[in-house]
Structures are given as C-alpha cells and as structure tokens.
Symmetry: C2
Subunit: 355 residues, 2 copies
C-alpha cells in the first residue's frame, strides 16, 4: 500500500479526493442540492426555501496562538468565520452548534470567556447558539463551529454562477488581517527573547500597539459582512457568484473561475488595500499586495455582479469593482500597476498542508 | 477574578453555566424550538416538520487510541455516535458535516481510510456527507461531526416527555463497549510492556481476541439503533422521553427524570447485560453491572413508553422493560437482585472533567 504525504497534493487536492469518497452517500438524500465544493452545503427545506450549512474548525497553534489571542475575541472570531461562509451563499445565519475540546489547564472562567465572545457575536449577527459538545483535550484547545443559514432559490449565490461580462467586486479593504498577524508575531518573539534571556519584560518595552489597532483587530476579531447581505436583500441584488476571502483573492477568485468555467482579469490598482496594512508592510519591508492576493483571513466578500446591477452598488463606498469575468480561455489574470499582466493561476493561496 | 477548576463542577455543571451564557442568543431565532439540554437542538422547518441537529467531537487520547482503533472503524464510529443522537429524538438522519484536524504525520491514505469508514457508515444509515473542513493539527487527530435529522411535531421525543406510569425500556444489551475497552487496554499494556523491555512481541503472544469479538466490536464500531426508530415509525409508536446511552443508564436515566420532573424505579434483574461483557467481567474480576450503569458508549436507546404501547413492543426481543417512571418525590431508584433499594442519584456516570 503506497503512503503519500498530504503536502504533495495540498488541502484542495485532499478535499477533491475526499469528495469522491463521500459521493455515494449523496444518492440517498435528494433534498441535498449541493455537497462539497462551495462555502456551504445546500439543503432544500421547502419548495422555495434553502438551508445552507457550514463548519469550521480552529485549532490552537494552527489557527490561533493563545499567547496573543484573548479568549473573548477568539470566541467571536470562531462565530465570524462561519457567518462569513453563510454570507458567501447570500444567506442569513440561523443557528450554530459549538464543539469544544478543552485542555486540562483551562478553568471554568476561561471557557466562559470564550463562550461570552461567541454569545456576543451571535447576538450581533442575530443567530442562536443552539447546542454543542464539550469535552477534554489532551493537547491544545480546539473549537469547531457548525452553522446553518437560510436563503431561497432566487437569492442563493454559488461559486459556479459567474458569467463572462460580470463585474468582479470586493468588499472593504484587504491585507489588514495578515498585517495584524505580522505585528503580533513580531511582538511575541520580542517578548519570548526577553524571557528566554531572563531579561525583564513589561508593558513599558512593548511597542505601542495602538497605532496597529485596526490591523490587529482584523486579525483577532474579523467581522463577517452580513451588512452587505442585508444591503443586497434590501436592493434586490443577487450576485452571480460569491465566496468569502479566507485564503487571499488569488486563490478565492480561482475557486470562482474553476467552478464557473470562466476566466477573469483584475487590476492591481483597483484592489482596495487597507491603509494600515500598507504602513505596516512599509515598516516591515514586505509587499502589501502579496498579503492581499495570497494572505488569508480578511473575511471580506469577493463576488461577481451581472452588469445590470452596477448602478445599484455605486452608493456603497465599501464595495470596489476590481475587474471582470472573461471567457475561460483568457485565463485568470492580474494587470499590475506597470501594465504588466501576471497569470494568477501560478500564485498560491494559503494552504495548511503545503510546506 | 476567581479561577475555578472545571473538575469542581464536572461536564454537566459546565454545560449548565454555558447554556446560561448563550440564552440571550435564542431570542432572535423564534424557529428554534429547543436549544441546549437534549440530545439534539430542534429547529422548525415548516408548520409540521422539525429539524434536529447535533455535534460530537472525538479527540485522540480522550475518545480513542490510534494504537488499537483502526481508522476505518473510527470513521464509522464518528458517524454512529451522531446518528445515535438523532435517533434519540425519534428522527431520521439527513446530512452531516465533517471537521478534521489532521496531524502532520498523517498520509493521504490514512485520511482516506477514515473517510471511507465515514462514507460506508453514512450510506448504511442513509444520510449524506455534505461538506466539511480539513486542516492541520499540531497535536492529535480531532474529528468533529455535526449532523441534522428530520422528524415532526407528532413524532419527536424529548428528554422532558416522561410521565409517571410510563414503562422504562432499553434496547439491545449493555456493558459490551466498556468490556471491549478493558480488553483492548489490557492488550495494549501487554504490548507496551514487551516493547519497553525490548522483548520480542508478535501476534503469537497476543491473546486470541476472537473470543472478545462482540465486545471489541461494540467499542470500536457501535451501531446506532436507527432500526428501532424505523420500527417505531412503522408501528406508529411514539416514546414519551428518549435518550441514547452514552454515559451509562444511571446518568442517562437521571437526565430523563430531571428534564421530565419525575422519579423512576428500575430493577437490576431486568437490565439486559451483554453475555460477553459478563464473561469478560468474570475474567477481570470486575462488576459488570457497574459497567452497565456507569460505563459509557453502549449507544443503545433508553426510552419511556406510555402503557398503551406496551403490547406493540412485545414482539421485539431486543427491547427490555427495566422499570417504571414514578412521581418525582420517589427519587431515582434501583432494586438490586437481593431486593435492596439503591438511590441512583448517588452513582456518577462517565464525566470527562471529573477526576
């Protein structure tokens, strides 16, 4: 029996293989409209109404570091990342289930802090925390949230709905979450260096993090763009295709194009870069556009819009049109600020299993 | 700020406190019929149909030991324990989402083995695996399954539905899962002793596990009693209250009585002990009734039945009537084979957080 490393095929290669294994289970459930391959699974509840469902697992030392992630914010983030997947289907969140694996070292109050953050975020998004499972972990903290939402046949947006000629739009600004993480990791290493050298360490020698507040906030407690979904509902806008930006727009745009059988062209000059991310990139001498394209966790929405809706979004200053869907043969392209064209198919997004 | 150990209040004490924290989130979701406090959350899909939803997290070294849990069986078990929760609501399973945190040391083929077990079990239960999340773990394997099912207002069984005079019934036999675990742990220690002493270890010096096959099977791959739910549907039987036996009948009967505001009396002589579990208990000089009362993981169903349904279950040899629901004031009692009465409120079930 051959044994192959997951890193050879990466997260998405693995998902493709697992999707094939579960295909036989889909036959017995005709109400399932869409299985693996979008931000959410889609399940028919009635003649017109659809349930969408998603799950996200956050593991200590992989998705978060308790050295710089306050538990209350972490709780909120666990809810936000799932609400973001629900939003990506143009749906409103209904209820969530929470599974916790809690290390032995955790106190009651620490679990309550985490749950308080989840509860506050859930109230803000208007969804119920309906149940869960709490057990011991022999290693780090693991939080799994699963969440359902509701939409309808005439409102749902899947990754596969893009058409040549659609505008490519992105909400908010990009790069802040990656920038915030860079600052937090830098500060962590300064602290650990002091401690390992037995040097005194106190708040006084920490950088003033106030100037990085926006970026750090985006990293520690991203906000899902439910406001955009409510705006779409109010204005009767239905995006062609939609995805939330969890792995960087390069990778997430590729998902849309591959599912829709299209190409795309986007323009670097139109990508809305977060201004604090730009400052941090300058300070650290890194490339902010790389964070926007290939960094993760911005949890903004990337969507395509049939041209007839173009006027309807004009009033929103927090929606940027960054390009256009093209025929498949064109490929997935970026024109940079010097007018050069780069093939985005070659740029990798964030992948847990790649080295 | 006081810091209190979770072990002071245990798993159920912690759940009570977390349930209070999420209560404010329930207000915004009128379709949620039941939140924390039963085997599943209950969500209204239409005027008569209800969705039930559950989640279970299984963590390495807490819920399973990869030294003696083949990955394919483990996959099946992760599905079974969730289907068992769906069954406990008198519902049929619809779809599942799978979250995996996979250690770096895992190969593609190992993840596929796990998924093959999940896919096979899902097909047997007639449910779809509709999506999931796969990411890296810096420590052990963690598998979280969330699952939905469907039932209706006139068929749902909650923990709170028991009435004085109801028969108390249990499906199948008890104690096998606990007995199987004892054998597996014994064999593991024999192997580790040999290996740590640099002594040769081979299949030849292992006990012949064939004679423990039934018990080991119950431990490694329990089967959820979906057959019973289908039997109830066919015969139009609706249990008063129902729960799946994951922590031992002592603890699970207490959940029913506390939710229903009743007492109960059960009779030791009527508890259906698994015969192989009895043999293993004799061999290990342990008390098999303790395993049935306080051991976990049998995943049989414990339910109460209004007396008018008594005839309808007579044909089923795999349903045992073990006692009767009483008024709350009576307490929760067990009469042992010598006619002595024991208060079951004093017997603890399995609790991850108690020491």
């Amino acid at each position: 029996m051959p044994y192959n490393a997951i890193s050879d095929i990466g997260e998405f290669g693995l998902i493709d293989r697992l999707a094939k294994l579960v295909e036989p289970t889909l036959a017995g459930t005709p109400a399932l409209v869409k299985g693996i391959g979008d931000d959410c699974a889609v399940y028919r509840m009635s003649e017109t109404s659809l349930q969408v469902a998603t799950t996200d697992l956050l593991a200590e030392q992989v998705h978060f570091d308790l050295l710089f992630s306050p538990l209350r914010l972490l709780g909120g983030k666990c809810i936000s990342v799932n609400v973001s997947d629900i939003c990506a289907m143009n749906a409103l969140p209904s209820y969530a289930l929470i599974s916790l694996a809690v290390p032995d070292s955790f106190t009651i109050e620490m679990v309550e802090e985490l749950y308080t953050g989840m509860s506050q975020a859930a109230s803000e998004y208007g969804l119920a925390i309906a149940g869960g499972d709490t057990s011991l972990s022999r290693s780090g903290l693991v939080v799994t949230v699963s969440m359902t939402g509701e939409t309808s046949d005439d409102r749902i947006s899947m990754r596969s709905g893009a058409q040549p000629g659609d505008l490519i739009c992105v909400t908010g600004t990009l790069g802040a979450a990656a920038a915030g993480l860079k600052v937090l990791i830098r500060e962590k290493h300064i602290m650990l260096d002091h401690l390992s050298g037995n040097e005194p360490y106190s708040m006084n020698i920490m950088a003033n993090l106030e100037e990085y507040r926006d970026a750090i906030g985006h990293q520690l407690l991203p906000v899902a763009r439910l406001d955009i979904i409510k705006f779409f509902l109010e204005k009767n806008i239905v995006p062609g295709a939609m995805i939330d930006i969890s792995d960087g727009i390069s990778s997430d745009l590729r998902h849309i194009c591959n599912s829709s059988g299209t190409g795309a062209i986007i323009h670097e000059s139109r990508i809305p870069i977060n201004s604090q991310a730009r400052d941090i990139a300058d300070e650290l001498q890194e490339d902010v556009i790389t964070w926007a394209l290939g960094g993760g966790e911005d949890y903004e929405l990337l969507f395509t819009l049939p041209p007839e809706f173009a006027c309807a979004i004009e009033e929103r200053k927090d929606i940027s049109v960054i390009g256009e869907i093209t025929e498949k043969e064109t490929g997935i392209l970026l024109t940079d600020i010097y007018g050069m064209t780069i093939n985005l198919s070659d740029l990798a997004g964030y992948d847990h299993f790649r080295r």
